[in-house]
Amino acid sequence: MTRAEPLLQIENLQVSFFLPGVEVPAVRGLDLVVGAGETVGLVGESGCGKSVTALSVLGLVGDPGRVKAGSIRLGGRELVGLAPRELRAVRGRQVGMVFQEPMTSLNPVFTVGYQLAEALTTHFDLSRQEVRDRCVGLLREVGIPAPEDRLGAYPAQLSGGLRQRVMIAMAVACRPRLLLADEPTTALDVTIQAQIMGLLARLRRELGMAVLLITHDLGLVAQNVGRVVVMYAGHAVEEAATADLFAEPLHPYTRGLLGSIPGAPGTRPGDRLRAIPGNVPHPTRVPSGCPFRDRCDLAVDACADTLPELEPKRPGHRARCLRVDRRV
């Protein structure tokens, strides 16, 4: 597999939330690479650290959270430890973000046009007319009908799908090189979800953006990204090209996830699903050694000793598990 020049390179990222008396680790040493123009899926269940990872890239992990260690490089430039001013210049301009809930991520008291204009004028010096023209152009680009009329609309006057389109227009307003999409369609109906995913794919092609799609939905991943990183309890546990991951999932957690969703390869309607026993652990109660060992049916004593490395098990296919043999 030829990999493009990495646009985003995250190494050993550790993010914790420091509450009175306890440290709650959210990300425990994540490595992640997104090449220019590439689409990567970051998959995991609630609390696995996938959203915190995205926020770290933008320098948006707020108190009491802190990036404890590691590096995040965007086009070769280190983002960790950057001054707030410099980070603001990165946000929106080089990295755009789309959130899950379009109702809460748009400000209800400002019009769509105002918020879109703000996204532009933060980074560019434009005349009023230019701003207006570009706003209309952006709304048209994300497929909003009658864009001139929508500029004066308030978020509450738009449907969920249209709001998410506005969010995407804001995120791509400054032509970022990387778009972080955190569960962009989870709050939407399936037919609208298909529209939004289609829109993201089109924009990626037209603008040459890289997209990091953060989701819990393996179906979305299978249909939309080229490479997948599976996270569990703050660690990346498996990484592979999408086709390889679904053809031969290696980590028991990935296998469990695939067995859990109806419609995955090998499941038939009416059969019992191969559910993973137990629950996602609270971040303060993750077991020692392999974080998945208490829910894993392959676990042996050695799993408790050390955290396995995320190492190549097949060509271009890495997994973090002692029980998976290496055939490289």
Binding site: L19, P20, V22, V24, N279, T284
Partner: protein, 287 residues
């Protein structure tokens, strides 16, 4: 997570959070201390609070009289101690009355809605438009002042806030899924009100009741100060202040100590109330 569940009832969590708040704990200490004084007052007071002693008039604080004596030679400390149960009694009974009325009306108004809700809320609007203190003064003008009258009047004029609050809580709870679940199980209105709505709505009432006690004590003191509340010779912090006012030259201790007693009491209940409010704030996580 099989095995032992830590006993984490709502009240226990409340207590844990309260413990982390030093101001609330200070408030609680004051409130508990006052309650102890109020219960033990006959034993704590070194002198008869009504015991006139012409040879000991206006003694400054000292070894015999810790907080001095008033113009009739009565021991200020003993009078303060005897004032405590009256203040607390007024506070608790008055707030008890307003919480009872407010909760019953608020609960039923929020749950049943319709004309009953309109009627209750209009009554609340009406009563809230009349200044409470004025209403109390007017009532006392017609009736013979006594502490029971004061308690009843403060209670009857103070329930509107509780009522609004309980109604708002019940309105937001009424359509929650667990209430629907109870209905699906076949629970009747009474059961839903008492088992499902009330226990969830009562929490903010606790905060307002605590703050209300402080308010009621203040009103009682004001009334007694104006001579409309607790009647001499029965000592109350308010009427002690009033007597001291008539005799301003008669020693700072006669004004400072009753004033301080009122201040500390109100402060204690307010601190505890604020602490409870913070501890009950769902936005604060417990981890």
């Amino acid at each position: 997570m099989s095995g032992a569940y830590r006993d984490a009832g709502p009240w226990r969590i409340l207590w844990r959070r309260l413990q982390r708040n030093p101001q609330a704990m200070a408030g609680l200490a004051i409130v508990v201390g006052l309650a102890v004084v109020a219960v033990l007052h006959p034993w704590l007071a070194p002198y008869d609070p009504a015991g006139v002693n012409v040879r000991q008039i206006l003694q400054p604080p000292g070894a015999d009289h810790w907080l001095g004596t008033d113009e009739l030679g009565r021991d200020v400390f003993s009078r303060l101690v005897y004032g405590a149960p009256i203040s607390l009694l007024v506070g608790f009974v008055a707030v008890g009355i307003s919480v009872a009325i407010g909760t019953v009306l608020g609960c039923t108004a929020g749950y049943y809605g319709g004309w009953w809700d309109s009627l209750v809320m209009r009554l609340v609007d009406l009563l809230q438009a009349i200044p409470t203190f004025f209403l109390i003064l007017a009532a006392i003008a017609f009736l013979k002042p006594s502490i029971w009258l004061i308690m009843v009047i403060i209670g009857l004029t103070g329930w509107m806030g509780v009522c609004r609050m309980v109604r708002a809580e019940v309105l937001s709870l009424r359509d929650r899924e667990f209430v629907m679940a109870a209905r699906v199980q076949g629970a009747g209105d009474m059961r839903i009100l008492l088992r499902h709505l009330l226990p969830n709505a009562i929490v903010p009432v606790l905060v307002s009741a605590t703050l209300g006690i402080a308010g009621a004590i203040l009103v009682e003191s004001s009334l007694s100060f104006l001579g409309l509340g607790v009647q001499p010779p029965q000592p109350s912090w308010g009427n002690m202040l009033a007597q001291a006012r008539d005799n301003l030259a008669g020693g700072w201790w006669n004004t400072v100590f009753p004033g301080a007693a009122i201040f500390v009491t109100v402060l204690g209940y307010n601190l505890l109330g604020e602490g409870l409010r913070d501890a009950l704030d769902p936005k604060i996580s417990d981890r």
